[in-house]
Amino acid sequence: MKDRKKLYILSFVLLCVFLITSGFNDVYGQAKKNKVRLKADYVKIMDGEIYLDIKATSKIEKQNVKVSNIEVTIYNEFNDEEIELGTITTNMKGENKYVIKDLSDIKADSTNIYNIVLSFKGNDSFKKASKSISFKDAEIKANLITKDSLNYITATLIDKSNDSVIVGESLDVQVQRLFRSLKIGEEFNNTDESGTIIVPIEEGIPGVDGNLTIEVVLNDHDEFGTVKAFVNAPVGIPIVDESTFDQRTMWSPRNKTPMFLLIFTNILIFGIWGVIIYLIRNLFKLAKS
C-alpha cells in the first residue's frame, strides 16, 4: 500500500517535471531553422577569369542577414544528370567566387545553354537550399580606334553559341577609376545591326602615365550574364604626382621632420638644457666649496 502511494507521488513528480520542462522547449529544444537564399551571377571577363559570383542571405527576424561559412556545391546539369564541379565556402560577407577554369569543361545542352545548380545541404541553423542558373556564352571584342584625331572605343557583341552578332543590346562603356567607374558616351549604347557600338572618348580624362583602362560591359543580361572587356587606351592626360609623401613636411612622420625644425628645435632644447646642466653643476660646486 505504502509502495503504491510512493509510486503515485513519484509519477506525480515526474509529470510535473515533464510539464514544467515542456515549457522550456524553446530553450532546450532544437532552434527553428532559417531559409537560405542563394544568388549567383555569371561573369565573364574577356581574356580573363570566368566565374560565378555567389551570395548567401537569409531573412532572420525580418532582416536580411548575410550567411557566412556555409558550404555550397556547384553542379553542371546535363541530360538530367548533375556533374559536380566544385565547392565554395561563403566568407564573412556571405559571398564567394567559383572560378570556372575553362568553359569547355562544362557541358551545354542542345540549345547551347549552360545549366548550373548551386546546392547547400543545410546545417544546424539553416535549411537546405538550391539555386539554378542558365547562361549562354557571349563575347565582346573591343578596340581603340582613332578617327580624325578623335579617339573612339568600338565593341562588337557576339553570341558564341552560333557565332552571330547580337543586335539591339545596350553596352556600358566606362573608364576605371579608384572607387567607381566613370561612364562615358550615351546613357544607352545599343549595338547596331552589325552588333557593334562606337563611343567617343572625351578628352582630358586623367590617368596614370596617361593610360586609361576602359571597360565595355554587358551588364547582368538575362541570357548572357555579365560580360566585360578591357581596353588599355593611352589617350588620357598623365596625372602629375603632387604627393609630398617623400618630402620633409610639417605633416610627415617624424623621420621626415623638416630640417629647419630639427635644427631650430634641437638648438633650443640642447641650448636650454646645456645651461640647466651648467646650473646643476654650479650647485655641486657650491656644495664642495
Binding site: T257, P258, L279, I280, L283, L286, S289
Partner: protein
C-alpha cells in the same frame, strides 16, 4: 645683532597654528576624494567624464591651461623685476617662485589626468614628432619645472644655512635637513659670486622659456584649425592672460600669507600698491588682446565665427563670458586705477576674482569652440553637442587645485617666504648693528 635676530625670528618658518592644521587637513581630504574619483576614472575609462566626440577637451584642459598661465608669475615677478632692478620685489619673489613651482607641477599632472590611462604618457615619447605642438609641450613643461625649481632653490641657499643654525637646538632633525639642503653654504665670497651668477642666468633664461611655454600652450590651440582658436594673436593673447592670472594669484597668496604670518612690517601697503599697478598693467594689456580676439571676428562675421560669437555674447555662454570679461578684467582695472583700490584688502578681493575669472576664462576659451566645429559630426546623440563637467571631472579638478594649494602651503610652512639674507643685506642690518656695538 638685535635687529638681525628679530628679523630671523620674524621670518623663520613656524609650525602650523589651528587654522593651518584645519586648512591642510581640508586640502588632504579634497585630494583623497579626487584621487578616489581618478582611480574610478582609470577603472571605468573616460566615459565617467562628460567629454565626448565634440568636447574632447573639457575641464581638464582648461584647468591645465590655467596652471600653465599661473606658473608664468615666476618669469614676470621674479625675473623681470630682478633684471629691471626693482628692489621692492624682495619680499614677494619667493612666494612668486613657490606659486610658479606648484602651478607648473600641477600642469604636468593635469595633462596626465586628461590622458585617462597614465601609461599613455609613454606614447608621447615613443611616437613623438617634432612637428607636433604636443611634443613641444612635452619638452617645455619638464624644462620649465626644472628651471622654476632652480629659481626657487638658488636664492634659498643662504636662508637654508640660516635656518640650519636657527633650528640647531630647537629641532636638530629639521636643522639637519636644512643643512643638507643648504649645500654647506658658508656665505664665502666664492659662493656668493657663483650663486649671484647662477641666479642671473636663471633670471635671464626663465623669461624666454616662460614665453615659449605660454606660446606653445597657445599654439596647441591655434594650430588646430578651429573657430575661436584660428588666430595669429593667440600666443601674445595667452602670454598677457598668463601675466594677469599669475599676478592675481600672487596678490591673493601674498595677502593670506602676510595675514597668517603677521608680516605687515615686511609686506607693506607700498608693495600692494606696486603689485596693484602691475596687475592693472597686465589687465589692460590682456583687455587689449581680448578686444582684438573678439572684435575683429565679430566685425568680419564669417559664418562659423558669427555662430560662435553669438553663443559667447548673447547665447549659452553669455553669462559666463561677460562675468569673466567684466568681473575678471574690467572691474579690476577700474578699481585698481584708484589708490584706495590698491590697499591690501581690496587688492585681495580683486586678486581673488581675477584668479577665479582667469580659471573660467580658460573654460570659455576651450569649451564653446569645441562645440562649434567647422564640420558638425553627423549622427551623434544630442547630449554630445553640449558639455558641462561630470562629478568625476569636478572632483578631480578641485583635487588638482587643492594639490597646488597644498604644495604652496607646505613650502610656505617649511621655507622662509621672505628671503632673510637678502632682506638683511638690503637693510644693511648687520652693518648698522656693528656700528652701534662699536
Amino acid at each position: 645683532m638685535k635687529n638681525y635676530d628679530k628679523l630671523i625670528n620674524d621670518l623663520v618658518p613656524r609650525k602650523f597654528g589651528k587654522i593651518g592644521v584645519i586648512w591642510t587637513s581640508l586640502l588632504i581630504v579634497i585630494i583623497i576624494i579626487g584621487f578616489v574619483a581618478y582611480i574610478d576614472q582609470i577603472r571605468k575609462g573616460q566615459v565617467v567624464t562628460n567629454m565626448r566626440d565634440y568636447a574632447l577637451w573639457g575641464i581638464y584642459i582648461s584647468n591645465f591651461v590655467f596652471f600653465v598661465a599661473t606658473s608664468f608669475v615666476g618669469s614676470i615677478t621674479v625675473a623681470i623685476l630682478r633684471l629691471t632692478k626693482n628692489t621692492w620685489r624682495t619680499p614677494l619673489v619667493r612666494i612668486a617662485e613657490i606659486i610658479s613651482v606648484a602651478a607648473i607641477i600641477m600642469a604636468g599632472i593635469t595633462i596626465m589626468i586628461d590622458m585617462a590611462r597614465p601609461d599613455r604618457i609613454l606614447n608621447l615619447f615613443i611616437h613623438a614628432r617634432l612637428q607636433s605642438p604636443i611634443t613641444w609641450d612635452v619638452i617645455i613643461i619638464p624644462t620649465y619645472i626644472v628651471i622654476s625649481l632652480l629659481l626657487l632653490y638658488f636664492p634659498l641657499l643662504p636662508d637654508l644655512a640660516i635656518l640650519k643654525k636657527h633650528f640647531k637646538e630647537k629641532s636638530p632633525k629639521l636643522s639637519r635637513i636644512y643643512g643638507f639642503l643648504s649645500l654647506n653654504w658658508s656665505g664665502s665670497k666664492a659662493q656668493k659670486i657663483l650663486q649671484e651668477k647662477s641666479i642671473k642666468i636663471i633670471a635671464i633664461m626663465i623669461i624666454p622659456v616662460g614665453i615659449l611655454l605660454q606660446t606653445i600652450d597657445a599654439w596647441l590651440f591655434s594650430t588646430t584649425y578651429r573657430i575661436g582658436w584660428d588666430s595669429t594673436n593667440f600666443a601674445p593673447y595667452f602670454i598677457s592672460g598668463a601675466f594677469v592670472a599669475g599676478v592675481g594669484a600672487l596678490i591673493t597668496v601674498i595677502y593670506i600669507v602676510r595675514r597668517i604670518k603677521k608680516l605687515e612690517n615686511y609686506i607693506t601697503d607700498f608693495h600692494f600698491d606696486k603689485l596693484g599697478k602691475l596687475l592693472v598693467l597686465a589687465c589692460l594689456i590682456y583687455l587689449y588682446f581680448n578686444i582684438n580676439e573678439y572684435l575683429i571676428p565679430a566685425f568680419t562675421a564669417k559664418k562659423g565665427e558669427a555662430v560662435h560669437l553669438d553663443t559667447l555674447f548673447t547665447g549659452h555662454y553669455a553669462t559666463l563670458f561677460w562675468l569673466v570679461t567684466i568681473g575678471g578684467l574690467v572691474i579690476p582695472i577700474v578699481v585698481l586705477l584708484f589708490k584706495k583700490g590698491r590697499k591690501p584688502l581690496p587688492m585681495f578681493f580683486i586678486g581673488l576674482i581675477v584668479v577665479i575669472g582667469s580659471w573660467w576664462k580658460r573654460y570659455v576659451i576651450v569649451t564653446p569652440t569645441l562645440l562649434h566645429p567647422f564640420l558638425p559630426i553627423q549622427g551623434v546623440p544630442e547630449s554630445w553637442r553640449h558639455y558641462f563637467p561630470s562629478l568625476h571631472e569636478w572632483l578631480i579638478t578641485v583635487a588638482t587645485l587643492a594639490m597646488a594649494l597644498l604644495i604652496i602651503t607646505l613650502l610656505v610652512r617649511y621655507l622662509p617666504i621672505i628671503p632673510i639674507q637678502r632682506t638683511a643685506d638690503e637693510q644693511e642690518l648687520l652693518k648698522t648693528d656693528k656700528h652701534s656695538e662699536s
